[in-house]
């Protein structure tokens, strides 16, 4: 019940700051569309049809807006660097869940923006989205999206916690943004990568945040492959949560109430 209260209070705040959410959504919308524009000017059509490309990047827009958390800035700047963590440490909630219920309203609002944009695009271009979903794949798609969100949230929380030790957070964020961009399937589907890079990309957690959910929703993975992808998501989620717990344990000891 108390988490519901946190969620509702923060939803009110997020709705007041819907302009901020709109900026984040704009970024998740424009980046894949720029890449789509880029590929439209290349001669990749023999390997990757125009319809598949459009469908792929539209799904990237939707999944990115719904599933990519942006909690790292609040954690690193407002909580750790500015000392706002003091009030949260005194509250009777685990920090992980407190931030989680504060972050969820942003995802809901961004998801609403994404659905509106998708609806407009599908009215203008009815055949833009190619999805071949069966009922059980729909269920798997839902599960993979939930796990993907938890992975994204935990990963971004870990990034934010690096502020306990590293002053130049923006350098880390720029770096991790580019790494995420490369290995999450944003540039192009990972199966187009050179074999050695594809193996690395499919192993890392980033592919399980965006790439695999997109493939499952598109209906391009078999039932067995989907279950395997979800299993890897669970394993990575366990790893990320362990890393978070360790960093939190040592970071809080280092934290001083006036900020870092």
């Amino acid at each position: 019940m108390r988490y519901l209260k946190i969620f509702l209070l923060n939803f009110q705040k997020v709705f007041e700051q819907r302009g901020r959410s709109a900026v984040w959504f704009f970024l998740t919308l424009i980046n894949p569309l720029v890449l789509l524009l880029y590929w439209n000017g290349s001669n990749i059509s023999t390997q990757w049809s125009s319809a598949s490309r459009t469908s792929y990047y539209l799904l990237i827009v939707i999944t990115s807006s719904l599933l990519i958390s942006h909690v790292e800035e609040d954690v690193s700047f407002y909580d750790i660097r500015q000392g706002g963590l003091v009030s949260k440490l005194l509250k009777p909630f685990p920090y992980y869940w407190f931030q989680f219920f504060m972050e969820i309203p942003y995802r809901i609002l961004q998801g609403i923006y994404g659905i509106i944009v998708l609806y407009i695009i599908l009215i203008m271009f009815p055949y833009a989205l190619k999805i071949e979903l069966t009922p059980h794949m729909l269920a798997l798609g839902f599960i993979t999206c939930v796990l993907s969100y938890f992975m994204s949230y935990t990963y971004k929380l870990i990034l934010g916690l690096t502020a306990f030790w590293i002053p130049d957070i923006w350098g880390i964020y720029q770096l991790t943004d580019v790494v995420f961009f490369i290995f999450s399937g944003n540039i192009m589907p990972l199966h187009f990568y050179p074999n050695w890079l594809k193996e690395i990309a499919l192993f890392l957690p980033f592919a399980h945040i965006i790439y695999y959910p997109v493939l499952i929703i598109q209906g391009q993975l078999s039932l067995l492959d989907s279950i395997q992808a979800i299993s890897f998501q669970l394993i990575w989620l366990a790893v990320l949560i362990s890393i978070f717990k360790i960093m939190w344990h040592f970071g809080v000891r280092k934290f001083s109430g006036v900020g870092q």
Partner: protein, 261 residues
């Protein structure tokens, strides 16, 4: 002028002593810069791996474009990026007062007070990319051509600075929009793509968002493909955006209230 030269000298000295005092921070920034630069090159190689040409640009030309982008982004990183990150916090917390009370131009101070020496690594990598591709395609770059190229890069940096600063100035009215910095960051990132890509959508995009041409035109100059009109446009865009950023900042300061807006 002499006063500002003294201030610039102090800024260089202050940031150098800060680098020596916080060596681990410098090393962390250096590693981030190097890995970012290498990752950018990898993403460029991936983008060019599946097709021979994109909008008339061959693979080598696109990688050359990445080199120009890396150099330009390196300069932006050295001079402005930390200041822009701080500016979002400064305006949000209503701490711009102390800057406005100082006997120095506020735009100058908020734009230049911090330097990021670690980002020099991006300049080095950009230079390596350009010289490697130039030798691969037997592209002869004379000393004068290179100086002219650097001037064009600096014009591009001016456009990026001005547009980015104008975007952040909006924070004076809407201080909660502190993710405008990320928006500006992304917009600059689009300059790594060929300008013809955006021209295909609408030629007016390049006029409305001159950031999109900041890497393309210097690269086309290196390839001996730049038209005089393009060079003139780059120059006009840099002076116009700089002038507009100045006027917009002065206009915005009239609305600034110190309690975080």
């Amino acid at each position: 002028m002499e006063y500002y030269l003294k201030v610039i000298k102090r800024i260089f000295i202050y940031n150098a002593s800060s680098l020596l005092s916080f060596r681990s921070s410098f090393i962390n920034s250096l590693i981030s810069s190097i890995v970012w630069s290498v990752s950018s090159l990898i993403s460029a190689l991936l983008l060019t791996s599946k097709s021979g040409s994109v909008y008339g640009w061959s693979r080598n030309e696109l990688i050359l474009l990445t080199g120009s982008y890396t150099i330009m982004w390196g300069i932006v990183n050295i001079l402005f990026q930390r200041n822009f990150q701080d500016l979002t916090m400064v305006i949000d917390r209503g701490k711009l007062d102390s800057t406005l009370l100082k006997p120095i131009d506020s735009q100058f101070l908020v734009s230049f007070k911090q330097l990021n020496y670690a980002a020099f690594s991006r300049l080095i990598l950009g230079y390596i990319i350009i010289t490697t591709i130039a030798s691969r395609v037997s592209l002869h770059i004379s000393f004068l051509n290179f100086i002219a190229y650097l001037i064009l890069i600096l014009l591009g940096v001016t456009i990026i600075y001005s547009v980015w600063f104008m975007i952040l100035t909006i924070l004076i009215w809407h201080h909660s929009l502190n993710n405008l910095n990320a928006l500006a960051n992304n917009m600059v990132g689009y300059s790594r793509y060929p300008q013809e890509m955006f021209q295909k959508v609408s030629p007016s995009l390049l006029v409305l968002f001159p950031v999109l041409i900041t890497s393309s035109i210097p690269t086309r100059f290196l390839l001996h493909k730049a038209r005089s009109l393009e060079l003139l446009f780059l120059f006009l865009a840099s002076t116009t955006t700089l002038f507009l950023s100045r006027k917009f900042w002065q206009f915005a300061l009239r609305s600034y209230t110190s309690a975080g807006g």
